[in-house]
């Protein structure tokens, strides 16, 4: 039930924002903040309970009469072994199609959920001043996007999953379309069309799965745990998996399906960029971990080398493009492509260490890239530009921001002390034994990431200040970050360092899930 609350709070909060704004401007942001904070409290309570507290009391969400099919499908094995599921909520929705309103939470979802709320909070804060017009509707969209994302992380009914998957798109689309930058329309279209194309293919796959399972077991249902029990013919498995992968690969994104990302990220308002980079990309990874691997063990082992190859390509290609960009936000956007490549690499290594790395990477990337986007937004508020050519020497006028930016730049180039290093280290280490060559190629990204991060720092904060003819010095252009921005960046900074120094709690939370998963792939 509490899971429903988490999502419901956001939805209601959003509607409230919209309504109040129509008659009393200025309340919206507070309501938004309140609802996010409330969610934050719930989540932190959960975190405290499950991390420090008595630890996961596993609820077994598997259908009572266990059908352990003696089949080649390994995941039909040990569902009774300590299940990773912490909370399970179900309610009927459209019984005639076996669609139920089912939300379940395991360590992984909990982690990503907390990330969602954390970044959501910062997104609200970071648009505090930036959004001056139609605030109500803005926060409505923002909160609904968050709700959709939270739903995606919790849904364990395929239909419901798809439902949330789509729900998070439209508000995001509007965020980009209405509050975006100069080229927003194009970016918004691109974002929506890419993701929707992928999503529809996934819908096909889901339906196919639904019917196959129905034919086998006689009960037509979209329930995740029920479908987990069904066995697929290899060909069917391959095609259906491709359907799922299409959606997730677009979201992740994997080269060459990544083209929506730079435009969307760079045109979106700051909050939008934070949510996009920090959360939306994660849904893709989450989808692969939650659905693709458990549903199609054989098929995914078969495709693993190619997937990892794609991951490596994304890593290198994204890094190279990031190096070439002249637009700050585009640069950061391409770094995401590179970083998410690591995620793909790690997932399909199908190996515990790498998988742990993936989980860390999801959070670390969310924080570091989110922070970079926040900084880019602050710079844009001051200089009214995203062009690297029109920046420079900002360290003089705003040292604090410069130093913080340095922290996050270092984080995203994978320096130890920061979460990203742990993530990349674990991923590479885990993948190395089987796929040495790929890992070696991927490791070159460490150099490339240094290239683009240092270039960014140099162009933005170091060197001589841009001549006033290019960027007219305004009063705002001089002032360093204020207390609100301090809070935002400070929180992120603490987060990323904590993750780098003490990642263990996160890893322990995800452990159960991951072991359950990698159980199927023991070589």
């Amino acid at each position: 039930m509490i899971l429903v609350w988490i999502i419901g709070l956001l939805l209601c909060g959003g509607i409230l924002c919209w309504l109040t704004d129509t008659w009393k401007a200025g309340y919206a942001k507070w309501i938004a903040l309140a609802s996010v904070v409330a969610d934050g409290l719930i989540i932190s309570a959960l975190l405290v309970h499950f991390v420090t507290g008595t630890g996961p009391q596993a609820v077994s969400p598997y259908p009572a009469p266990q059908v352990t099919t003696p089949s080649a499908e390994p995941h039909a094995a040990s569902p009774h072994a300590a299940t990773p599921w912490l909370i399970d909520y179900r309610n009927t929705w459209i019984p005639s199609f076996g669609i139920s309103l089912r939300l379940s939470m395991d360590g992984l979802s909990l982690i990503l959920l907390s990330l969602t709320i954390f970044l959501g909070l910062l997104a609200v804060l970071s648009s505090w001043k930036e959004i001056s017009e139609r605030t109500g509707f803005f926060y409505f969209n923002l909160l609904w996007t968050l709700a959709g994302i939270a739903g995606v992380f919790l849904a364990t009914d395929l239909f419901l999953f798809y439902f949330f998957w789509e729900v998070m798109l439209v508000p995001m689309y509007l965020l980009i379309l209405i509050w975006g930058d100069s080229n927003r329309r194009y970016a918004a279209y691109k974002f929506f069309l890419f993701t929707q194309a992928g999503g529809l293919l996934m819908l096909l796959a889901i339906l196919a799965l639904y019917f196959i399972h129905g034919r086998q077991s006689g009960t037509y249902t979209f329930d995740y745990f029920a479908i987990l029990q069904s066995t697929l013919s290899p060909t069917a498995a391959r095609w259906i998996m491709l359907g799922f992968l299409a959606a997730f690969a677009v979201k992740l994104p994997v080269v060459p399906l990544h083209n929506w990302l730079p435009d969307a990220h760079s045109e979106a308002p700051t909050a939008g960029s934070i949510v996009l980079a920090g959360l939306l990309l994660k849904t893709g990874a989450y989808g692969i971990i939650r659905f693709v691997l458990p549903f199609f063990p054989q098929a995914s082992t078969a495709i693993a080398p190619w997937a990892m190859l794609a991951g490596v390509i994304s890593i290198v290609y994204g890094a190279l493009l990031a190096f070439a960009q002249t637009d700050l936000k585009r640069l950061i956007a391409y770094t995401s492509v590179s970083h998410m490549g690591f995620v793909l690499l790690g997932i399909f290594a199908m190996q515990e260490t790498a998988m742990q790395g993936v989980v860390i990477q999801l959070i670390a990337h969310g924080i570091s890239t989110g922070a970079l986007f926040a900084i880019a937004g602050m710079i844009k508020e001051r200089l009214h530009t995203r062009e690297l050519a029109r920046m420079g020497g900002l360290q003089t006028s705003m040292p604090a921001m410069g130093n913080l930016a340095m922290v996050f730049a270092m984080a995203s180039l994978g320096l130890p002390l920061f979460g990203n290093f742990i993530a990349e280290f674990l991923i590479l280490l885990g993948a190395f034994p089987q796929y040495a060559t790929l890992v070696v190629i991927a490791s070159t990204a460490l150099v490339f990431s240094a290239l683009y991060c240092l270039r960014m720092m140099m162009r933005v904060f170091f060197g001589p200040a841009a001549p006033p003819t290019i960027t007219p010095p305004t009063a705002s252009a001089q002032q360093d970050i204020d207390s609100r921005e301090w809070i935002i960046l400070g929180l992120l900074c603490v987060g990323i360092v904590l993750l780098g120094l003490y990642p263990q709690p996160v890893m322990d939370l995800a452990k159960e899930t991951i072991q359950q998963l990698t159980l199927n792939f023991r070589i």
Binding site: M406, P416, F432, V439, M458, F461, Q504
Partner: protein, 636 residues
Amino acid sequence: MNELAYIPALPLLGFLVLALGGRRMSQKAVAITGAGSVCAAALLTMVLCGQFFGSGAVGAAAGHASPASVHYDLQLGQWFHAGALSISFGLRVDSLSLVFMFIITFVGALIHLYSTAFMRGDRDYARFFACMNLFVCAMLILVMADNLVLLYLGWEGVGLCSYLLIGFWYDSPANCLAANKAFIITRIGDTALLIGLFLLFKELATLDIAAILRQSPGHFRLGSPVITLIALLFLAGGMGKSAQLPLQTWLPDAMAGPSPVSALIHAATMVTAGVYLIARMHVLFQLSPLAMTVTAITGALTLLVAACSAMVQTDIKRILAYSTISQIGYMFLALGVGAYGAAIFHFFTHAFFKALLFLAAGAVIESLHHEHNIFRMGGLKDKLPVVYWTFLAGAASLAALPLVSAGFYSKEQILWYAWRAANGGTALWLAALAGAVITAFYSTRLLLVVFWGEAKTSVSSRPGRLITIPLIILAFLSLTAGFVEWPHNLLPVHLFSGFLQSVLPAPATRSGGETIGQLLAVMATLAGIGVGYQLYHRQPEIGIITRWQQRPLAAAIRNFLFGGWGFDRLYDTLFVRPLVSITRLNRADIFDQLYVAVVRAARTGHRLLSASQNGSLRWYAVGVLMGILFILTLLL
């Protein structure tokens, strides 16, 4: 043994204080925090040394103690563990680490004191000390780590600090570029090291240093490809950090940083991290003769190449930079021939005299309002007496002036091992010898040109006491530090090697020829000094140089050496330009075209179909008919 933790913790604390509150603190407060933290760390280290000696490590020196190495362990707690991997914040201090810790904290403390005066009035006083403290902390972690991941943390940390400090005066693009260059080139080495880590973990399933050293002899065949690969990857890591061929190009540019930085990071400590790594992992290298040879050759080549470049430089700091590269070359040579102790010993002495030289150079530069070109200096002998005498000591030590200078003892040892050690050889020895000559030569040149002759630039300011005291201390040490270890045919004093032997095995040597070797070494030094004196002091003969300058060939050679053997240009054409141009070309992301094509196709389809909606009723009727015919054809 909890003091261990405080040693790196104190500088860290200093860093945190300065980083968070630095901009609101007075310069005095900043200086006290910055320097104080490191001094405290230094004191702690001394205490630690004392305890260490007390705990019978010296007994080991006499040779009758058990070879089981004396060491202190401290577990600060779990870092992370996943699957088979388990990493902890564990410190492990044995004699090797202790030597490094001593240098880091002690020399570091002196340099911090120096900087408090040197950097006074700088806009970013606090930032400077923050970075310096962070550096000391990271370096300490690097040498104290008990597992490779923690070591890597320190390894990258020092890289970061070096980057920050090279680009400390960020408003000139040149400095930023130098900083980036330093970071990226070392990063290449780091990546190699990381891959080495992966490989090692794949083989041994642990990254704990002690465990690795224990298990690898049993696990790897002697000279098996795997171990060779691992050793070479580690070597590559060392090359990056220690500016060895072919990754040496960043160090000369790194002189863009303030002089104390050059002294601490780019002379005394960070650049020797590679030496530490290899010494620490010597077991792996022992297992792979090939790797050893490569190391030795790298060292030999580097020391020659760098020394030659140092001969012709005109920027005082660049001269010192090249000499640093070349001296580290000596250490690599020693490592390569298995004389780990000798390498560490040379590191020990080198830290003193090279730090001294840099600091002195800094003092000179300051007092000549930022003049770097040695040929516009001169005649400072009487204007800056303290600086002169200390510099003299440093230069003598660098040139390895026999008996009276620390450099002599360490270098002589290396020369001898290069010749006589099991996997040493005449070629290596000759290379080292030639290096010695050149070193002596350019040290003389440096000294004479800067301090003798007539003044060319007026002295603006005299260095204060905070600057001179560290100089004097270092000068003293760079003369006397060598006495802890004598060539065994002169005096049976082997404190240093005895101290280390518990960790680092002494190399097998072919006995004989000590005296010859020493004589030759001495002669080499004296020859170098003599030539330098001839060319740069005896006024009439100064013409020789100028006459050479006229000769095109000589000029060409000189420029070639001056440009650091054209490595920069090579890399520029091989890697940098292609990379940049390719990425520029693809800035618009080629894959976009794919989707543009799709869109274009759809638009075309729209246009074609839209043409059919031409509003003519008869055309529509025809359309219907067409449809019918189509259907009928389908049916029949």
